[in-house]
Amino acid sequence: MLCQNCSKREATTHIKRVVNGEATEAHLCQECAAKLGYDNFFDNFSLNLPDIFSSFFGDSARALAGSRTDRCEKCGCSFDDIVKTGMVGCADCYDKFFDKLLPSIQRIHGRTRHVGSVPAEQLTETTATEKKEETAEEKIASLEAEMKKAIDAQNFEQAAVLRDKIKELKEDK
Protein backbone atom coordinates (compact mmCIF):
# COMPACT_ATOMS: atom_id res chain seq x y z
CA MET A 1 0.00 0.00 0.00
CA LEU A 2 1.28 3.45 -0.89
CA CYS A 3 1.52 6.29 1.61
CA GLN A 4 -1.72 8.29 1.67
CA ASN A 5 0.13 11.55 2.10
CA CYS A 6 2.81 11.47 -0.63
CA SER A 7 1.47 8.54 -2.72
CA LYS A 8 5.09 7.73 -3.55
CA ARG A 9 6.61 5.50 -0.91
CA GLU A 10 5.35 2.30 0.68
CA ALA A 11 3.20 2.91 3.75
CA THR A 12 4.77 1.45 6.90
CA THR A 13 2.98 3.38 9.63
CA HIS A 14 -0.64 2.75 10.41
CA ILE A 15 -2.44 5.47 12.36
CA LYS A 16 -5.82 4.84 13.86
CA ARG A 17 -7.94 7.42 15.60
CA VAL A 18 -11.45 7.67 16.92
CA VAL A 19 -13.17 11.01 16.60
CA ASN A 20 -16.77 11.36 17.73
CA GLY A 21 -17.04 7.61 17.88
CA GLU A 22 -16.01 7.18 14.27
CA ALA A 23 -12.73 5.48 13.44
CA THR A 24 -10.42 7.05 10.89
CA GLU A 25 -7.31 5.35 9.60
CA ALA A 26 -4.26 6.50 7.73
CA HIS A 27 -1.38 4.62 6.18
CA LEU A 28 1.78 6.68 5.95
CA CYS A 29 5.37 6.05 4.91
CA GLN A 30 8.10 6.51 7.49
CA GLU A 31 9.19 9.83 6.08
CA CYS A 32 5.73 11.39 5.98
CA ALA A 33 4.91 9.95 9.39
CA ALA A 34 7.99 11.63 10.81
CA LYS A 35 7.26 14.84 8.92
CA LEU A 36 3.72 14.93 10.25
CA GLY A 37 4.91 14.26 13.75
CA TYR A 38 4.05 10.58 14.11
CA ASP A 39 7.38 9.28 15.32
CA ASN A 40 7.61 7.48 18.63
CA PHE A 41 7.45 10.59 20.73
CA PHE A 42 4.13 11.55 19.29
CA ASP A 43 2.35 8.30 19.98
CA ASN A 44 0.47 9.86 22.81
CA PHE A 45 -1.00 12.69 20.80
CA SER A 46 -3.94 12.95 18.56
CA LEU A 47 -3.17 15.09 15.54
CA ASN A 48 -5.81 16.70 13.48
CA LEU A 49 -5.63 14.19 10.67
CA PRO A 50 -8.36 15.58 8.40
CA ASP A 51 -6.30 18.77 8.08
CA ILE A 52 -3.48 16.82 6.49
CA PHE A 53 -5.57 15.75 3.55
CA SER A 54 -7.43 18.66 2.10
CA SER A 55 -10.58 16.61 2.10
CA PHE A 56 -12.94 19.47 2.90
CA PHE A 57 -12.58 20.70 -0.65
CA GLY A 58 -15.08 18.47 -2.39
CA ASP A 59 -15.19 17.42 -6.02
CA SER A 60 -17.05 20.56 -7.02
CA ALA A 61 -14.17 22.69 -5.79
CA ARG A 62 -11.74 20.54 -7.73
CA ALA A 63 -13.79 21.04 -10.88
CA LEU A 64 -13.65 24.80 -10.36
CA ALA A 65 -9.89 24.60 -10.08
CA GLY A 66 -9.45 24.33 -13.84
CA SER A 67 -8.66 27.99 -14.48
CA ARG A 68 -5.04 27.77 -13.46
CA THR A 69 -3.97 31.09 -14.94
CA ASP A 70 -6.07 33.11 -12.50
CA ARG A 71 -3.73 34.05 -9.67
CA CYS A 72 -3.86 36.24 -6.59
CA GLU A 73 -1.91 39.43 -7.37
CA LYS A 74 -0.45 39.61 -3.89
CA CYS A 75 0.91 36.12 -3.23
CA GLY A 76 0.71 34.44 -6.64
CA CYS A 77 -1.51 31.67 -5.34
CA SER A 78 -4.03 30.11 -7.76
CA PHE A 79 -7.32 28.50 -6.78
CA ASP A 80 -5.80 25.23 -7.95
CA ASP A 81 -3.00 25.65 -5.37
CA ILE A 82 -5.56 26.23 -2.62
CA VAL A 83 -7.52 23.09 -3.48
CA LYS A 84 -4.36 21.00 -3.76
CA THR A 85 -2.84 22.09 -0.46
CA GLY A 86 -6.00 22.87 1.53
CA MET A 87 -4.33 26.14 2.44
CA VAL A 88 -5.20 29.64 1.34
CA GLY A 89 -2.25 31.83 0.26
CA CYS A 90 -2.98 35.17 1.89
CA ALA A 91 -5.78 37.44 3.10
CA ASP A 92 -6.31 38.82 -0.43
CA CYS A 93 -6.94 35.32 -1.80
CA TYR A 94 -10.22 35.27 0.13
CA ASP A 95 -11.34 38.34 -1.83
CA LYS A 96 -10.01 37.10 -5.13
CA PHE A 97 -11.52 33.61 -4.91
CA PHE A 98 -14.44 34.42 -2.61
CA ASP A 99 -17.18 32.96 -4.81
CA LYS A 100 -15.21 29.80 -5.48
CA LEU A 101 -14.34 29.29 -1.81
CA LEU A 102 -17.83 29.97 -0.51
CA PRO A 103 -19.35 26.52 -1.22
CA SER A 104 -16.51 24.84 0.69
CA ILE A 105 -16.84 27.31 3.56
CA GLN A 106 -20.56 26.60 3.67
CA ARG A 107 -19.91 22.85 3.75
CA ILE A 108 -17.35 23.14 6.58
CA HIS A 109 -19.27 25.49 8.84
CA GLY A 110 -22.86 25.21 7.70
CA ARG A 111 -22.97 29.01 7.67
CA THR A 112 -21.25 31.73 5.70
CA ARG A 113 -21.64 34.85 7.79
CA HIS A 114 -19.40 35.89 10.68
CA VAL A 115 -21.23 37.04 13.81
CA GLY A 116 -18.42 37.18 16.37
CA SER A 117 -16.00 39.86 17.45
CA VAL A 118 -14.27 42.40 15.23
CA PRO A 119 -10.61 43.50 15.60
CA ALA A 120 -10.46 46.48 17.95
CA GLU A 121 -8.95 48.92 15.46
CA GLN A 122 -11.62 48.23 12.85
CA LEU A 123 -14.38 49.35 15.18
CA THR A 124 -14.87 52.94 14.14
CA GLU A 125 -17.84 54.57 15.80
CA THR A 126 -20.37 54.12 13.01
CA THR A 127 -19.52 50.54 12.18
CA ALA A 128 -19.56 49.74 15.88
CA THR A 129 -23.22 50.60 16.26
CA GLU A 130 -24.13 49.01 12.93
CA LYS A 131 -22.35 45.89 13.98
CA LYS A 132 -24.17 45.81 17.27
CA GLU A 133 -27.63 45.87 15.71
CA GLU A 134 -26.65 43.21 13.25
CA THR A 135 -25.26 41.02 16.01
CA ALA A 136 -28.49 41.09 18.04
CA GLU A 137 -30.49 39.92 15.01
CA GLU A 138 -27.95 37.33 14.03
CA LYS A 139 -27.48 36.18 17.56
CA ILE A 140 -31.15 35.26 17.70
CA ALA A 141 -30.85 33.46 14.38
CA SER A 142 -27.82 31.50 15.54
CA LEU A 143 -29.44 30.66 18.87
CA GLU A 144 -32.52 29.44 17.04
CA ALA A 145 -30.38 27.20 14.87
CA GLU A 146 -28.69 25.85 17.97
CA MET A 147 -32.03 25.24 19.66
CA LYS A 148 -33.19 23.27 16.65
CA LYS A 149 -30.04 21.14 16.84
CA ALA A 150 -30.57 20.59 20.54
CA ILE A 151 -34.12 19.45 19.91
CA ASP A 152 -32.97 17.12 17.12
CA ALA A 153 -30.47 15.64 19.56
CA GLN A 154 -33.28 15.33 22.10
CA ASN A 155 -31.33 17.56 24.42
CA PHE A 156 -34.37 19.33 25.78
CA GLU A 157 -32.68 20.81 28.79
CA GLN A 158 -30.25 22.68 26.55
CA ALA A 159 -33.08 23.62 24.18
CA ALA A 160 -35.06 25.15 27.04
CA VAL A 161 -32.09 27.27 28.09
CA LEU A 162 -31.69 28.48 24.52
CA ARG A 163 -35.41 29.19 24.18
CA ASP A 164 -35.28 31.43 27.26
CA LYS A 165 -32.27 33.25 25.91
CA ILE A 166 -33.97 33.90 22.58
CA LYS A 167 -37.01 35.21 24.40
CA GLU A 168 -34.82 37.51 26.46
CA LEU A 169 -33.05 38.87 23.39
CA LYS A 170 -36.34 39.45 21.58
CA GLU A 171 -37.71 41.35 24.54
CA ASP A 172 -34.58 43.51 24.71
CA LYS A 173 -35.03 44.65 21.12
Partner: protein, 333 residues
Amino acid sequence: MTWYQNSGKDSDIVLSTRVRLARNLRDFPFPNRLDKNECRKVNETVRDVLLAGDDSLFYTEMSALNSYQAVSLAEKHLISPEFASDSTGRALILSKDEDVSVMLCEEDHVRLQVIYPGLSLKEAFEKAEQLDSKLASSLNIAFDDRIGYLTQCPTNLGTGMRASVMLHLPALSQSTAISRLAATVAKLGLTLRGAYGEGSRPTGDIYQLSNQVTLGISEEAAIQNLQSIAEQIIAQERQARQSLLKDDVFIDKIYRSYGILRSAHMMSCDEFTSLISYVRIGACAGLLDVPVEKLTYLLVKMQPATINADAGEKYTSAQRDVIRADAVKKALE
Protein backbone atom coordinates in the same frame (compact mmCIF):
# COMPACT_ATOMS: atom_id res chain seq x y z
CA MET B 1 1.89 28.40 38.97
CA THR B 2 1.32 26.34 35.85
CA TRP B 3 -2.01 24.66 35.09
CA TYR B 4 -0.59 21.25 36.02
CA GLN B 5 0.55 22.39 39.47
CA ASN B 6 -2.83 23.74 40.36
CA SER B 7 -6.44 22.67 40.52
CA GLY B 8 -9.57 24.62 39.63
CA LYS B 9 -13.32 24.34 39.40
CA ASP B 10 -14.54 20.75 38.86
CA SER B 11 -10.97 19.45 38.97
CA ASP B 12 -12.25 16.00 39.91
CA ILE B 13 -13.15 15.67 36.24
CA VAL B 14 -11.76 18.65 34.31
CA LEU B 15 -7.97 18.73 34.02
CA SER B 16 -7.66 21.92 32.02
CA THR B 17 -9.42 24.50 29.88
CA ARG B 18 -7.86 25.97 26.77
CA VAL B 19 -8.85 28.82 24.48
CA ARG B 20 -6.93 29.29 21.25
CA LEU B 21 -7.28 32.17 18.78
CA ALA B 22 -5.97 32.09 15.20
CA ARG B 23 -4.88 35.48 13.83
CA ASN B 24 -2.97 36.66 10.77
CA LEU B 25 -1.29 39.87 9.71
CA ARG B 26 -2.91 41.38 6.63
CA ASP B 27 0.36 42.58 5.13
CA PHE B 28 2.03 39.16 4.93
CA PRO B 29 1.04 36.04 2.99
CA PHE B 30 0.02 33.09 5.20
CA PRO B 31 2.86 30.93 6.61
CA ASN B 32 2.74 28.29 3.84
CA ARG B 33 3.89 31.01 1.40
CA LEU B 34 6.57 32.59 3.58
CA ASP B 35 10.28 31.84 3.58
CA LYS B 36 12.39 31.69 6.73
CA ASN B 37 13.31 35.38 6.68
CA GLU B 38 9.75 36.56 6.16
CA CYS B 39 8.65 34.28 8.99
CA ARG B 40 11.20 35.92 11.24
CA LYS B 41 9.82 39.34 10.28
CA VAL B 42 6.32 38.23 11.24
CA ASN B 43 7.56 36.66 14.49
CA GLU B 44 9.48 39.74 15.55
CA THR B 45 6.65 42.10 14.66
CA VAL B 46 4.27 40.17 16.90
CA ARG B 47 6.92 39.79 19.60
CA ASP B 48 7.49 43.56 19.75
CA VAL B 49 3.77 44.19 20.25
CA LEU B 50 3.03 41.49 22.81
CA LEU B 51 6.18 41.82 24.89
CA ALA B 52 5.90 45.62 25.16
CA GLY B 53 5.18 46.49 28.79
CA ASP B 54 4.69 42.86 29.79
CA ASP B 55 7.65 41.23 31.52
CA SER B 56 5.78 37.99 32.25
CA LEU B 57 6.28 36.93 28.61
CA PHE B 58 9.43 35.74 26.89
CA TYR B 59 10.27 34.92 23.29
CA THR B 60 12.28 32.09 21.80
CA GLU B 61 12.92 30.82 18.30
CA MET B 62 11.97 27.17 18.10
CA SER B 63 15.33 26.34 16.51
CA ALA B 64 16.94 27.28 19.85
CA LEU B 65 15.25 24.29 21.53
CA ASN B 66 16.31 20.67 21.19
CA SER B 67 13.72 18.13 20.15
CA TYR B 68 12.97 16.96 23.73
CA GLN B 69 12.34 20.49 24.89
CA ALA B 70 10.03 21.12 21.94
CA VAL B 71 8.07 17.89 22.35
CA SER B 72 7.87 18.44 26.10
CA LEU B 73 6.02 21.71 25.43
CA ALA B 74 3.54 19.74 23.35
CA GLU B 75 3.18 17.14 26.10
CA LYS B 76 2.25 19.98 28.44
CA HIS B 77 -0.35 21.10 25.87
CA LEU B 78 1.35 24.47 25.43
CA ILE B 79 2.02 24.00 21.71
CA SER B 80 0.69 21.65 19.05
CA PRO B 81 2.57 18.43 18.25
CA GLU B 82 2.83 19.66 14.69
CA PHE B 83 4.51 22.87 15.87
CA ALA B 84 7.02 20.82 17.88
CA SER B 85 7.88 18.60 14.92
CA ASP B 86 9.34 21.33 12.70
CA SER B 87 11.20 24.39 14.00
CA THR B 88 11.79 26.10 10.64
CA GLY B 89 10.80 29.75 10.74
CA ARG B 90 8.85 29.28 13.93
CA ALA B 91 9.01 31.05 17.28
CA LEU B 92 7.19 30.87 20.59
CA ILE B 93 6.07 33.41 23.15
CA LEU B 94 5.49 31.85 26.56
CA SER B 95 4.51 33.30 29.92
CA LYS B 96 6.44 32.38 33.05
CA ASP B 97 3.41 30.56 34.46
CA GLU B 98 2.92 28.83 31.11
CA ASP B 99 -0.71 29.98 31.06
CA VAL B 100 -0.14 32.01 27.89
CA SER B 101 1.60 30.53 24.87
CA VAL B 102 1.72 32.06 21.40
CA MET B 103 2.83 29.93 18.48
CA LEU B 104 4.24 32.09 15.72
CA CYS B 105 4.14 30.92 12.11
CA GLU B 106 2.40 27.67 12.88
CA GLU B 107 -0.55 27.17 10.55
CA ASP B 108 -1.38 30.84 11.05
CA HIS B 109 0.92 33.77 11.84
CA VAL B 110 -0.39 33.88 15.40
CA ARG B 111 -1.94 31.06 17.43
CA LEU B 112 -2.58 32.54 20.82
CA GLN B 113 -3.42 30.12 23.62
CA VAL B 114 -4.51 30.49 27.23
CA ILE B 115 -4.63 27.37 29.42
CA TYR B 116 -6.03 27.22 32.96
CA PRO B 117 -6.65 24.35 35.39
CA GLY B 118 -10.19 23.08 35.91
CA LEU B 119 -13.25 24.39 34.11
CA SER B 120 -12.70 28.11 33.47
CA LEU B 121 -13.78 28.87 29.93
CA LYS B 122 -14.87 32.44 30.59
CA GLU B 123 -11.68 33.37 32.40
CA ALA B 124 -9.49 31.81 29.72
CA PHE B 125 -11.43 33.56 26.96
CA GLU B 126 -11.20 36.92 28.73
CA LYS B 127 -7.44 36.59 29.03
CA ALA B 128 -7.14 35.60 25.36
CA GLU B 129 -9.33 38.52 24.34
CA GLN B 130 -7.15 40.90 26.30
CA LEU B 131 -4.02 39.77 24.43
CA ASP B 132 -5.95 39.81 21.17
CA SER B 133 -6.90 43.48 21.68
CA LYS B 134 -3.28 44.29 22.32
CA LEU B 135 -2.41 42.74 18.95
CA ALA B 136 -5.25 44.46 17.11
CA SER B 137 -4.46 47.87 18.56
CA SER B 138 -1.03 47.96 16.87
CA LEU B 139 -1.24 45.51 13.99
CA ASN B 140 -3.31 45.24 10.85
CA ILE B 141 -5.15 41.96 11.44
CA ALA B 142 -6.54 40.04 8.44
CA PHE B 143 -10.32 40.31 8.78
CA ASP B 144 -13.31 40.32 6.45
CA ASP B 145 -16.77 41.62 7.39
CA ARG B 146 -18.46 38.62 5.79
CA ILE B 147 -16.32 35.72 6.95
CA GLY B 148 -14.53 37.13 9.99
CA TYR B 149 -10.89 36.50 10.87
CA LEU B 150 -9.03 35.19 7.84
CA THR B 151 -7.05 32.03 8.42
CA GLN B 152 -4.79 29.88 6.30
CA CYS B 153 -7.17 26.96 6.58
CA PRO B 154 -10.86 27.73 5.94
CA THR B 155 -11.86 25.45 8.83
CA ASN B 156 -10.90 28.25 11.27
CA LEU B 157 -12.62 31.20 9.55
CA GLY B 158 -15.00 33.36 11.55
CA THR B 159 -13.93 33.73 15.15
CA GLY B 160 -10.76 31.68 14.65
CA MET B 161 -11.44 30.42 18.15
CA ARG B 162 -11.04 26.86 19.42
CA ALA B 163 -12.00 26.34 23.02
CA SER B 164 -11.53 22.98 24.65
CA VAL B 165 -11.74 21.22 27.99
CA MET B 166 -9.75 18.14 28.93
CA LEU B 167 -11.99 15.69 30.75
CA HIS B 168 -11.23 12.58 32.79
CA LEU B 169 -14.15 10.23 32.08
CA PRO B 170 -13.25 6.77 33.43
CA ALA B 171 -16.78 5.89 34.57
CA LEU B 172 -18.51 6.90 31.33
CA SER B 173 -15.81 5.02 29.39
CA GLN B 174 -16.73 1.82 31.23
CA SER B 175 -20.10 1.74 29.55
CA THR B 176 -21.28 2.48 26.05
CA ALA B 177 -22.39 5.92 27.25
CA ILE B 178 -19.29 7.56 25.87
CA SER B 179 -19.92 6.68 22.22
CA ARG B 180 -23.53 7.85 22.47
CA LEU B 181 -22.27 11.04 24.07
CA ALA B 182 -19.77 11.58 21.27
CA ALA B 183 -22.49 11.22 18.65
CA THR B 184 -24.71 13.69 20.51
CA VAL B 185 -22.08 16.40 20.93
CA ALA B 186 -21.22 16.09 17.22
CA LYS B 187 -24.79 17.18 16.42
CA LEU B 188 -24.29 20.23 18.64
CA GLY B 189 -21.21 21.37 16.75
CA LEU B 190 -18.69 19.98 19.24
CA THR B 191 -16.04 17.26 19.04
CA LEU B 192 -15.19 14.71 21.72
CA ARG B 193 -11.96 12.84 21.13
CA GLY B 194 -9.37 10.92 23.10
CA ALA B 195 -6.53 13.08 24.34
CA TYR B 196 -3.95 10.30 24.48
CA GLY B 197 -3.44 7.04 22.66
CA GLU B 198 -5.12 5.32 19.75
CA GLY B 199 -7.98 2.90 19.50
CA SER B 200 -11.52 3.08 20.73
CA ARG B 201 -10.69 3.75 24.37
CA PRO B 202 -8.04 6.42 24.98
CA THR B 203 -5.27 5.74 27.49
CA GLY B 204 -6.14 7.04 30.93
CA ASP B 205 -9.69 7.78 29.78
CA ILE B 206 -8.82 11.40 29.10
CA TYR B 207 -10.90 13.15 26.48
CA GLN B 208 -10.93 16.52 24.84
CA LEU B 209 -14.19 18.33 24.20
CA SER B 210 -13.92 21.26 21.78
CA ASN B 211 -16.02 23.46 19.52
CA GLN B 212 -15.95 22.51 15.86
CA VAL B 213 -17.73 25.36 14.11
CA THR B 214 -16.11 28.82 14.09
CA LEU B 215 -18.15 30.68 11.48
CA GLY B 216 -21.65 31.99 12.12
CA ILE B 217 -21.46 31.62 15.87
CA SER B 218 -20.13 34.28 18.23
CA GLU B 219 -17.33 33.56 20.69
CA GLU B 220 -19.72 33.97 23.62
CA ALA B 221 -22.28 31.60 22.16
CA ALA B 222 -19.63 28.99 21.33
CA ILE B 223 -18.19 29.21 24.86
CA GLN B 224 -21.63 29.05 26.44
CA ASN B 225 -22.49 26.01 24.35
CA LEU B 226 -19.26 24.25 25.32
CA GLN B 227 -19.73 25.20 28.97
CA SER B 228 -23.24 23.79 29.21
CA ILE B 229 -22.36 20.53 27.43
CA ALA B 230 -19.25 20.16 29.61
CA GLU B 231 -21.37 20.67 32.72
CA GLN B 232 -23.82 17.98 31.60
CA ILE B 233 -21.00 15.53 30.89
CA ILE B 234 -19.46 16.30 34.31
CA ALA B 235 -22.79 15.60 36.03
CA GLN B 236 -23.17 12.32 34.14
CA GLU B 237 -19.63 11.23 34.96
CA ARG B 238 -20.14 11.97 38.66
CA GLN B 239 -23.32 9.95 38.67
CA ALA B 240 -21.66 7.04 36.85
CA ARG B 241 -18.79 7.13 39.36
CA GLN B 242 -21.24 6.83 42.24
CA SER B 243 -22.49 3.48 41.02
CA LEU B 244 -18.99 2.27 40.04
CA LEU B 245 -17.78 2.96 43.56
CA LYS B 246 -20.31 0.51 44.94
CA ASP B 247 -18.56 -2.29 43.09
CA ASP B 248 -15.90 -4.12 45.13
CA VAL B 249 -14.08 -5.26 42.00
CA PHE B 250 -13.67 -1.65 40.92
CA ILE B 251 -12.56 -0.50 44.37
CA ASP B 252 -10.03 -3.31 44.39
CA LYS B 253 -8.68 -2.01 41.08
CA ILE B 254 -8.15 1.43 42.60
CA TYR B 255 -6.12 0.09 45.52
CA ARG B 256 -4.16 -2.33 43.32
CA SER B 257 -3.27 0.49 40.91
CA TYR B 258 -2.08 2.57 43.83
CA GLY B 259 -0.04 -0.38 45.06
CA ILE B 260 1.65 -0.94 41.70
CA LEU B 261 2.46 2.76 41.32
CA ARG B 262 4.07 2.73 44.77
CA SER B 263 6.17 -0.38 44.25
CA ALA B 264 7.05 -1.06 40.59
CA HIS B 265 10.66 -0.83 39.45
CA MET B 266 9.82 -0.10 35.81
CA MET B 267 6.80 1.72 34.48
CA SER B 268 5.96 2.49 30.84
CA CYS B 269 4.11 5.71 30.08
CA ASP B 270 1.02 3.82 28.91
CA GLU B 271 0.86 1.67 32.04
CA PHE B 272 1.41 4.72 34.20
CA THR B 273 -1.36 6.67 32.46
CA SER B 274 -3.83 3.81 32.91
CA LEU B 275 -2.98 3.21 36.57
CA ILE B 276 -3.04 6.84 37.58
CA SER B 277 -6.53 7.09 36.11
CA TYR B 278 -7.79 4.69 38.81
CA VAL B 279 -5.84 6.46 41.51
CA ARG B 280 -7.40 9.73 40.42
CA ILE B 281 -10.94 8.39 40.91
CA GLY B 282 -9.90 6.96 44.28
CA ALA B 283 -8.44 10.28 45.36
CA CYS B 284 -11.50 12.25 44.20
CA ALA B 285 -13.79 9.82 46.04
CA GLY B 286 -11.78 10.18 49.24
CA LEU B 287 -10.54 6.57 49.25
CA LEU B 288 -6.92 7.62 48.84
CA ASP B 289 -5.25 10.54 50.53
CA VAL B 290 -3.53 12.08 47.49
CA PRO B 291 -4.10 15.69 46.36
CA VAL B 292 -5.51 15.76 42.85
CA GLU B 293 -2.98 18.45 41.78
CA LYS B 294 -0.19 16.00 42.47
CA LEU B 295 -1.75 13.48 40.10
CA THR B 296 -2.16 16.06 37.34
CA TYR B 297 1.44 17.12 37.87
CA LEU B 298 2.68 13.54 37.54
CA LEU B 299 0.51 12.91 34.50
CA VAL B 300 2.25 15.80 32.73
CA LYS B 301 5.75 15.36 34.09
CA MET B 302 6.04 11.59 33.53
CA GLN B 303 5.66 11.84 29.76
CA PRO B 304 8.68 10.69 27.76
CA ALA B 305 10.05 13.92 26.30
CA THR B 306 9.34 15.86 29.49
CA ILE B 307 11.43 13.38 31.52
CA ASN B 308 14.30 13.85 29.09
CA ALA B 309 13.88 17.62 28.87
CA ASP B 310 13.77 18.05 32.67
CA ALA B 311 16.88 15.92 33.13
CA GLY B 312 18.68 17.34 30.12
CA GLU B 313 19.53 13.78 29.09
CA LYS B 314 18.83 11.54 26.11
CA TYR B 315 17.45 8.62 28.10
CA THR B 316 16.29 5.53 26.23
CA SER B 317 12.75 4.29 26.72
CA ALA B 318 13.91 1.55 29.14
CA GLN B 319 15.94 4.02 31.20
CA ARG B 320 12.94 6.32 31.37
CA ASP B 321 10.76 3.47 32.62
CA VAL B 322 13.04 3.05 35.63
CA ILE B 323 13.23 6.80 36.25
CA ARG B 324 9.45 7.11 35.94
CA ALA B 325 8.76 4.25 38.37
CA ASP B 326 11.19 5.79 40.84
CA ALA B 327 9.78 9.32 40.59
CA VAL B 328 6.18 8.09 40.95
CA LYS B 329 7.11 5.97 43.97
CA LYS B 330 8.70 8.98 45.68
CA ALA B 331 5.80 11.27 44.87
CA LEU B 332 3.20 8.87 46.29
CA GLU B 333 5.11 7.85 49.39
